[in-house]
Structure formats: C-alpha cells, structure tokens
Amino acid sequence: MKEFFLGRLNRDSLPHDVFMIGGSISIIAMVLLAVAILTRTKRWKWLWNEWLTSVDPKKIGIMYFLVAGFMLLRGGVDAIMIWLQQSLSVGNSHGYLSADHFQQIFTAHGNIMVFFVAMGFIFGLINYIVPLQIGARDLASPFLNTLGFWLYVGGVIMVNMFFLFGGEYAATGWLAVQPLSGAAFSPGVGVDYWIWSLQISGIGTTLGAINFIMTILKMRAPGMTLWKMPLFTWGSLFSMLMAVSVFPLLTATLFLTFFDRYFGAHFFTATGGGDPMMYTNLIWMWGHPEVYILMLPAFGIFSEVVSTFSRKPIASYTSNVLGMAGVSALALSVWLHHFFTMGASADVNAFFGVITLVIAIPTAVLFFTWIATMHRGLIRFDTPMLWFLGFVAIFTIGGVSGLVLAFPPADFQLHNSLFLVAHFHSNVIGGVLFGIFCGISYWFPKITGLKLNERIGRNAFWFWIVGFCMSFIPMYILGMMGATRRMDHYDTPTGWQPFFIIMLLGGIVIAIGAALQIVQILATFIQKKRLRDTTGDPWDGRTLEWATASAPPFYNFTVIPQITTRDAFLEIKHKGPQEPIYEDIVIPKNTGAGIYISAFAFLVGFGFVWHINWLAVVSIIGIIVVFVVRAFNEETEYVLTAAEVKILEKVRVAKALVYEQESKATADEEDMSVWDFAKYLYAFALDVMRNKKWKSW
C-alpha cells in the first residue's frame, strides 16, 4: 500500500550527506524568506496577476533573467566545489567529496550551466528584444510563451529536487552516456531526475522555438522584409530553426532512455540487443547544435553592438546573415566529432573532421564583417563593447583549439582530456556568456529604464578576464599533461596539483567578478535618479527597440512604425518626431494555464522518478484537462482603446519630464565605485539599526 502511494520514496532517500543537507537548508530558507516577505508586504496577488500569469514577453524575459541569474550562482558554486576537490584530492588525500558525489556535482554543473543559465538568458533576451526589434506588440502565441517559460522553471526545480526529496543527481556526465546511465550501472534516481529535468524544459524549448519562428516570420512591422531584419533577430531566427530541428530528437532520445530504465526496454543497453553507440550518436546530434543554438543569438548581439558603438551600419550585412546561416546549417552535421575515438572508419572520421573545418569559414566571415564595421568608424568603449573585445580574444582561443581537435588523430590524444574541457569553456564562456553579458549591458537601459553603472561594470569585466585566464590556461596545459576530465583523485608524481590550485584561484577571481556584477546592478538602482534613460535611446541606437520608451509600455509601441530601411530607427530619427495617431490595441489576457500545465508536467516527471504511477497518470490527465479548457477559452484578448492609449502616453510623458529634471540635477555626480557602494551599504545598515526601521517594514 505504502509502495503504491509513495513508490520508491522513503525516509532513507531523504538527504543525509552534509553538503546535501546544507543545500536543502539554504533552499528551504530562501523559499521561506520569499514567502515571508510576500506575505508581510501583501504582494501575493500582485505577484500572481502582474508576473506569474503574465503573457507579456517583456515580463517573461525578466523572469527568465532572474531564474537564469540565480542558476548561474548555483552552477558557479558547483564549479568552485569541483576545483576545490581537485586541488585537495591528490596522493593519499582523497579530498572532501566521495567519487560519486563529485560526479553528481560536475553533471549538475554542466546541465545547469547549459540548460538553465545559457538557455535561460538567451530565451530571456529573445523574449524581450526580438518583438521590439521587429516592431511587434506581442508574440504569435502569447500562451505558448508562458507555457514554455514555466516548463523551463519546471526543469529548474526538477534539477534541484534531490535537495528536498533526496535521492541523488545523475553521476554520469552532462549527457548521461550509455550504457553508464542505464538501469544496470545507475540504478538510483539520479538519471531519472536528469531525464525529467531535461525532458520538461526541452519540450518548453521546442514550443518556444516554434513560437518565435512564427513571430519573426509573420509579425514584423509593415515594410520590414526579411532582408531588413536586425541581426540579433536573424541570429535568433536561425537559433530557433535549429532548436525546432533538434529538440524533438532530444525528446525522443530521452523517452527511449526512460523506456529502458522504467519498462526494461533495450534501446541503449549493452545487453539484450541494445546499442549504446546509437545513444551517443543521437544525443550529440542534438548536443552539438545545442551549443550553436546558444551561440547564434550571441553572434547577433555582437553584430548589433559593434555596429552601434562604431556608429556605422554593419559591413556587408548579407555576408553576415549568410555567415550565420552557414554556421547553423553546418552545425547540424558535425556531431560525430564528439566521438572520433569510438572507432569509426577513417572515411567517416575524415568527413566529419572536414565539415568541422568548414564551419570555421562562416565564423571567420562574421569576424571579418566586424573588422570592416569598425573600419572608419567612431568607436565608443562602453561595457557592451568591452565584452565584445573580451569575446574576440577568448573565443578565438577556443576556436583555435577547436580546429586542432577537428583533426581526428589529434583528437585521439586530446579527447576527454582537460584540453577539451578548456576548449569548450573558452567558447561557451567567451562566446555565449560574454555575449549574454554584452547583450544585457547593452539592453539594460531598455529593460529597466536605467543605464548600468559603467565603473563597476568595468571592474567586473576585468575580474572575469583575469579569472578566466587563470582558470583555463592551466586547464589547457593539464590536458596536454594527460589529465583527463572528471577525475576526483590523481597521483602526486603527476605534478598536476599546482595547476588545479591556480584554477581554483581563478575560479575565485571569476566569482568576485560575478559578485561585482550584482553590486553593479544594485549600485545602478541606488543611483537611479542619475542613471535614468529618459530618451529611450541611450546609445544612439539604429534598430527599432530604441524607438519606444525605456522601459517600453506593455503594448511595446504606441504607433507601429513603417519600415523602409535596415537601420529603421536611424531613419525615423532623421525624419524627426511625428504626431502619433492613436489606435485601438488588442492585448492578450493573462493566463495561469501555463503554470498549471507545467505543474502537472513536473508531477508527471516526479511520479516517474520515484515510480509513483498513480501520480504520473493523474497528472497526465491534468495536463490534458487544462489544455482542453484553455483551448475552448475564446476570451483570451481584450481591447485597449485609442483613448486609453492616449491617456497612458500622457502619463508617461509627464513622468519622463520629472525624470529628466531629476537626472539633470544629478548630472554632475559620478557613477558609484565599489568603495562608494560599501560606504552606502554601511550607512544604510547603520540607519536601519539606529532608527529601528524594520518596525515599519
């Protein structure tokens, strides 16, 4: 009976390891704190109506940023724990983690950083910026968007579930290679958590991708032909096309893995006629394009930033777009270079090696268009541009090592070594993460109406660069010394320990950089009067997102602009302001259906993880019911009349005037430094203590 209701869940599965309990306690404490604050300030209703059920892509974008930012810290703690173990565990010492626990940590680190940090930020940026760039008021399907976001959140919770309900996480590496992740070698629930965390968020990605393809193809402002689209929109379109091509493959592969583990099927098992090599192929057919799904929007961001900060249109727009098209097409056909060492024939290896070289061609073209864009420009070096320049150096290091790895015989000596790990971290941190930071610092004024504190932003940038070099240059060397990835222990005579320690120190420098970025955002809000962007166009922008106010009204544009050229907003600026003609605007209504479906999807996963079959079945029915009810709801929109828009605009203009006064009054001040921030914090704390301010909270 107990087994029927609780499946395999029992008291023994609860967390008992000291680090697990630490994780559990901190997560529970954070949730309780959030609940307390919301209850005390009576914000539950506001949270539900204004945020959680919102279908506004701008609000969903911000929620993506918050979740992804939080996960970046979580994955960063994992990274430091990995390096700490490797710094300590040499010779007779075995460090502070068991092998199994260590393996769970690097698996979680990989999954969290790729799925829940990089994907979260990229989807956040696409959500916020693409509709603005194409002059749309909303997405093709606002409901799919909220559903996609909440499925992503479901995945995030699932990946952290073992902290609360115990068990373990997968100890298999981020792609859960077979047959290691089969039931025979991994009988625990770790791989099941892995399956359902990726499955739920992956389906969300597929839905999101369909939505954005439809939006970009069908909802552009009048006059904006495909060849007039901004480059970030192009990058996002290619990225989403790739996502639609490969994420269903992930979904299918995960289902087959689930059948193997749950029903004892033999798709990927070593025995019973299964084929683990098939799994390796399938997972990389998705896994390789996945990193390019992250990279293409980042390429788009860099193109926008280089163009804006050089005050020139992008050089050879067509080549740039075709470059991105080439990268995304070729990225679908290089997956085998992840396992040259599995024993394929020389012809097969050579084919995939050559395609890997070929993918460098369109990438090089992108670099050349950026160089030509800067040529005879008038270049400003605000933080977005700094992140671009940092990207150039680090991504190139990753690219060079990647091309060395493209030679199969060279790969035989470097595969699975820390050289490989350093290679893809160069590309993912230098390319994707710096692209995200570049994009966030570029669009932060648009999103919040505040220009970011430049001073602390620069400090953070240098900490990231120095920390990166300290961490990953030794990692390349360790790989050459024969250190493989994922080792929880090694021998003293190898002489590897000093390099692991330098890597750990580099990790701490990066952590300081990340902390400074949080300080940067806080300092920006402290000086918000001074840093307000009252124009909507802080960088002398060229594309449509700068044509509307910062932050934009929930309907994005008061008047949908008519487009005739590529740098659409530049043209609007040249023409000068025009008297707006207000019109009725159709606005989608908020809906909780996305949350309900995701909650049920989460319970399906949770039920299958712990073999609680009734829960899974009931939840599947729940999903269907909510979906049907939602599908029959025909009142999903309301109309904002022209008169209402006019009033809203008047309010906005009045507010902007006040802001402008404030910002003029503080124009002589400077951006706060870290030291100023510390002093401010100290004075604030003192003020709270002395005047017992908490009583009024």
Binding site: Q103, T172, Q178, L180, A184, F185, P187, A270, T271, G272, G273, T280, K312, A315, S316, T341, M342, G343, A346, D347, N349, A350, G353, I361, V365, F368, T369, I371, A372, M374, H375, G377, I379, R380, F381, V392, T396, G399, V400, S401, V404, F407, P408, A410, F412, Q413, N416, E454, R455, I473, M480, M481, G482, Y490, D491, T494, G495, P498, W539, E670
Partner: protein
C-alpha cells in the same frame, strides 16, 4: 554615455600591465612545468610523435590566420576610437563585391588547404592500421572491467591487471573490449591516443614504444564510481627483459581461469597491479560474444535488477 572615471587608464598603461601580468604568469607556469611530464608533447612512440607533430602543425597553421585577424580587429578598435580623431569617420562606407569575395574566399581557401592535410593524415593514423616495422607485432587483448584494466597475452597465455609490459620497438596490437562495464577509453598519452573499449565490440589500437620507461595510462571516459582509480602503467622494456618477464609470469601461482575471471569482473576500485599465468584463452572471446547474441543469449544477471 561618457562616464567621468577619474583614473581612466591610457591604452599604453593597460597594455603594459597586461603584458607584464602575462609574462609573470607565463614564467610561473614555466617554473611549475619544470621536470614534469607533458605527456602529449613528450611522445615515446611512433604514433604519439606523429600525433604530436600533427597537433603542433595544426595549432601553428590555425594560429597563423587567427592571430593576425585578432590583431587587426584590436588595431581597428584602437585606430578608430572616438577619442582619437573624427576626420576618418565614414558612416556611409560601402563594402563592395570585392570585399565580400575576399572574406569568403580567404577562409575557404585556408580550410581547403587544411582539409587536404586532414583527410590523408586521418587515414594514415587510423587506430586499426597495422604499424609497419619489419617485426612480428605482439597482440594484447585489453578488457575494461569495473574498474580495472585486464591485459591478456593470448600467445604467451599470461595476463596482467592494471599494468602492461611491452617490448621496445615491437608494434603492439591492443584489441579493446569491455565486460560488465560502461564505455571506457584506453589512453596512454606518452604512447599515443585513445580509443573506446565497449562491450560486444573489438576496437583495435596499434601502438609502438620507442623508449624504455614506465608510462601512465588510464580510462579517459567516465564509467562510474571507480573511474579515477582505473589507471595502469605501461612498462616498456627491452626485448630480452620482456621475454624473461614473460617466463617469470608464466610461473605465477595465480591462474586466470573462469572462476578467477568472474572474481575480476566484480566491481572493485583502485586495484593493485597483478599478473596471472595459465590464462583460459576462451575468456576474451566469450566476453565479446556475450553481448553479440540475440536477445535470449545475451541475458546477464543485470536483466532482473530494474
């Protein structure tokens, strides 16, 4: 968006600090590397040295185009910076057909050149290709078990665990497979690169050692809790020493029959190096065949466990 930073560093100062820091870092790394085995570059065999040459060649080639590109990009950023001068600013600059032709053909030509090297070298260094040395190669059957390496010398009827003795200058044919273990990867960086050991498959890796010595090998592919301890020593000895070692080992009291093998197959971590005599030469083939049969014959005890 000018921020009035009081202590804005000049470019010269920034470059000076950066190059100073890099030099110091480089010297520190060099000191730490003194006397250490940079295995991939420190090749002790024909295959490893060919792979090393390829790695160095590829890196130099790619750097020869990547470094100028990055330098030009940074030079552009510096040359056309806002604070320098405005007379060169040319926002309407038009990049014509010639420019487009150039940016596509240059990398295409370069990658074509690299591809022309990649294809033959991939065939030349294909792991299962026999090494021509004029000497009869020695065959060693390698089995990845949880979590140890078993080396069977079928012709000598001896076996070793977690170390492998090979004669200098004699090509070695490693026939890799696995039993009751997830995919593992066989790697001795000083002797040459890596190939997967998988159940139901025989992956053939040809290596040869040119210098006497002890070289570390390990599983490079994650395969469970004992992964880090799954390492072995490749001992390269002279032909004469090798032969006497074989004779000694053939007298070893430990024999590798079915029972001893079944003990070995059980999961265990950090195994000591051991050797066996009187090896049952059907063990290897049986272990491979076990996974190749159709559904019924390939059943193992794991089947019932989930």
């Amino acid at each position: 968006m000018k921020t009035k930073n009081k202590q804005k560093l000049s470019l010269a100062k920034t470059l000076l600090i950066m190059s100073g820091a890099f030099t110091a870092f480089g010297i520190g790394i060099a000191v730490l590397l003194r006397g250490k085995n940079i295995a991939v570059l420190n090749s002790k065999g024909l295959i490893a040295s060919e792979q090393r040459s390829l790695i160095i060649f590829a890196a130099v080639m790619v750097l020869s185009i990547a470094v100028p590109t990055v330098v030009i990009l940074y030079f552009m950023a510096w040359k056309y910076r806002e604070s320098s001068h405005t007379s060169t600013y040319h926002p309407e600059e038009n990049h014509g057909k010639g420019f487009n032709l150039f940016i596509w053909t240059l990398p295409t030509a370069f990658m074509l050149f690299l591809a022309l090297i990649l294809v033959p070298v991939t065939h030349k260094l294909q792991p299962n290709k026999a090494i021509a040395a004029g000497v009869q190669p020695i065959t060693i059957q390698v089995m990845a078990l949880r979590w140890k390496w078993l080396f069977i010398y079928p012709d000598q009827r001896i076996a070793t665990v977690n170390y492998v003795q090979i004669p200098k200058g004699v090509p070695v044919v490693f026939d890799l497979t696995a039993d009751e273990a997830p995919m593992s990867s066989f790697w001795v960086p000083n002797l040459g690169g890596q190939l997967y050991a998988m159940t139901g498959h025989i992956n053939r890796l040809n290596l040869v050692a040119d210098e006497l010595g002890d070289y570390q090998g390990r599983s490079a592919e994650i395969n469970g809790a004992g992964f880090s301890g799954m390492k072995f020593t490749a001992k390269v000895r002279s032909e004469a020493d090798f032969q006497s070692w074989v004779k000694d080992t053939q007298r070893s009291p430990d024999i590798l029959d079915k029972a001893a093998y079944e003990d070995l197959v059980k999961p265990s971590k950090d195994n000591q190096a051991t050797s066996y005599s009187a090896v049952d030469n059907t063990l290897y083939a049986k272990a491979v065949m076990k996974y190749m049969g159709s559904h019924g014959s390939a059943m193992t005890e794991h089947e019932g466990s989930h």
